[in-house]
Amino acid sequence: MNMRRLGWLLMLLLATFLFLALARPALAAGPVDLALEAPDQLNLGDEVVITAALKDSSGAPIPGATVVLWTPGQFLSVEGVMELGRAATDAQGLAVFLYQARSEKSATLNVSFSGDSRYSPAHASLEVSVAGSAQLYQSTAGVRLPGVGVWLLVAALGTAWSIYIGMMVLVTLIARAGQSASEELGGANV
């Protein structure tokens, strides 16, 4: 083997090495499977656990990957993506989120994995139907006194309006007494 051939062989080996080194991620970024698990029927205010499972093409769990939970959102006239949380997958490839249903209409929950050097990006979504009309916000400010509340208001108003009704009764009695007096007088001005 002459030196010229040896040079070409070395250059070929170097090029192959460089090609493998640079193209490795692309060649190795295999498809992944992202699955979302959540109850499809919730009541307003329910807090549930949502699980996203990330596996490679062979079904092996992918640990340590970041998964984002999001939903389409709208605030006044602005529409966009509302991130609800992000979590890293554990040894079983599971990312766990705590989700509270805060809107009575149905929600589209999405989980996304943006991919990395070894795995392709993946996305999964699920429709969740939310029912009920519970009042979620409870003020903690102020002092709660027994008996002081809406019933006190109702009692005060009830007293005033009962007296008003009593006034109507008295006016009716005045009219009746007037009718009797008028009959005695011969029916004038009634």
């Binding site: 003020s139 008003y164 008295l170 006016v171 005045i174 007494a177 007037g178 007096a181 007088l185 001005n189």
Partner: protein
């Protein structure tokens, strides 16, 4: 003796019914002016309705302006009436009788106009329905609606009850030459067959007894709740535990001032000088003077605490009031709205009819300014570190304000042509009572003579004419007596 008695009563009846029969050119000119101003106000409101609140000076940082100022102002002067009338009735103040009807007018009209203001402030009035749909019992806004509705209903009842005998009087005395058919029909229905029978008097006395007591806590609760709209909002300038009584005191203060001014106008317009004397103005002036001191005390209490601590945003508010952008109006309020009226009433030389009128005008203007300071100055304190906002009402807001005052005047003008502005039966009753007192103290041949000064003092307190007939006893209590 009987002739004199009947003549005196007839004079009272004629004086009270005259405005219902005759209408001069001056009245129509005033009404025409009110209608024109109101029409302009309606045009401004239509402009706002079509273009939105952007035509006002209100923006996100100062979101309440002239309309809420007027709301608080009108609700305040509504206390003129019912509260003053009710308190005077409860304490049986003899001199109250020619005053109460006008006071009760003011209450109903001011409440009605004031209640329109939040609807105008909303932009589209249909948004008020959202308060019913989504309102929460915990909200002072909901309390306010309930309180104002209760107060307005109570005030209408309280205005109506003592009107019944006078409606019957109008029914019996006004002929087809005096009043159109619809008016006579109205009197016939509204008088509910009043014939001044003992049973009817008993029922009326019971009804008025209940209402005069009930209306006082209702009136106090209304302005207390109005104050809570501010005091329960997270704004540093409104953090005050005395807002409730402060608002109630301010309401009575402005209410008395409004009543004095209205009394002066109606006395002049309908020649009621024989019944509404200078003594009535002086007596109301004393009430005004008392509340001047109370208002000064509240202001001293409010600002001396803030100024002593100068903590947080409170110091900003203190400085903007005393030396900043609101200083001119604040000092006008303090000096013009409280100190000067107080001095005018305090000094005997200025405690005259004219002096009381000037004091009332100053007090009423001062109280309007005070409402401005509470609303606008309170909202101009920055919630975050940004430049303080400035609010300037636009022509739309000023026009609607003028329209509101015109509406107030127009409804009063309508009322005075519909029912007697003086409670005829109560004035007659007052004369009767004072004459009974006089008879009790009259010198008798069998008894030692009653000292003359005591008799004069009694007559003076009752506001009787200087030389009333010694045996004057009005034979009537109200309408319907023509048939008895």
């Amino acid at each position: 003796m009987e002739k004199v008695t009947s003549g005196k009563r007839e004079e009272l009846v004629q004086t009270a019914l005259r405005p219902l029969i005759r209408t001069g050119m001056g009245y129509w000119l005033v009404v025409g002016a009110f209608v024109l101003v109101l029409a302009w106000g309606i045009f401004a409101y239509v402009t706002q309705y079509h273009n939105g609140l952007v035509v006002t000076g209100m923006r996100d940082r100062i979101s309440w302006g002239l309309y809420i100022v007027l709301f608080v102002f009108f609700i305040g002067i509504s206390h003129a009436g019912t509260l003053i009338s009710a308190i005077l009735r409860v304490v049986k103040a003899q001199w109250r009788t020619p005053v109460t009807r006008m006071a009760e007018f003011i209450t109903v009209v001011a409440l009605s106009v004031g209640a329109l203001m939040p609807l105008i402030d909303m932009g589209h009035p249909d948004r008020a329905f959202n308060l019913v749909r989504f309102g929460r019992w915990q909200s002072p806004l909901v309390w306010d609606i309930l309180a104002i509705t209760t107060y307005l209903t109570g005030s209408i009842i309280y205005l109506y009850l003592p009107l019944i005998p006078d409606l019957a009087l109008s029914r019996d005395r006004l002929t087809e030459n005096d009043a159109p058919a619809w008016k006579r029909q109205l009197y016939r229905i509204a008088a509910v067959g009043w014939h001044d029978t003992p049973q009817q008097q008993k029922y009326l006395k019971i009804a008025m007894g209940f209402m005069m007591v009930l209306i006082i806590p209702v009136a106090v609760s209304v302005h207390t709740v109005v104050s809570w709209i501010f005091a329960m909002t997270l704004r540093d300038a409104w953090n005050s535990t005395v807002f409730g009584p402060y608002f109630v005191a301010g309401a009575i203060y402005s209410g008395v001032a409004a009543l004095i001014l209205l009394m002066a106008i109606l006395r002049k317009a309908f020649r009621l000088g024989a019944y509404i004397t200078d003594k009535h103005f002086i007596n109301l002036g004393y009430i005004l003077g008392g509340f001047t001191l109370l208002m000064l005390y509240f202001n001293l209490q409010e600002y001396i605490v803030t100024g002593y601590k100068m903590a947080g945003e409170s110091s900003f508010h203190f400085l903007q009031m005393f030396a900043g952008q609101f200083a001119p109006v604040f000092w006008f309020y303090v000096i013009g709205g409280m100190v000067l009226p107080g001095l005018i009433i305090l000094l005997p030389v200025t405690r005259t009819f004219t002096g009381i009128l000037v004091a009332s005008g100053l007090a009423l203007t001062g109280m309007w300014v005070e409402r401005w300071l509470i609303v606008v100055a309170g909202l101009s304190v920055p919630l975050m570190p940004y430049e303080p906002s400035v609010y300037a009402p636009t022509w739309v807001e000023w026009s609607i304000m003028a329209g509101a005052f015109a509406m107030f005047g127009l409804v009063i003008a309508f009322f005075v042509k519909l029912v007697p502005v003086v409670s005829v039966w109560e004035v007659a009753e007052q004369y009767e009572e004072s004459e009974e007192k006089q008879a009790e103290h009259a010198p008798s041949p069998q008894l030692p003579r009653v000292p003359v000064p005591a008799l004069n003092a009694s007559r003076l307190a009752a506001n009787l004419p200087e030389n009333p007939p010694s045996s004057y006893v009005p034979p009537v209590r109200g309408g319907g007596y023509e048939h008895a």
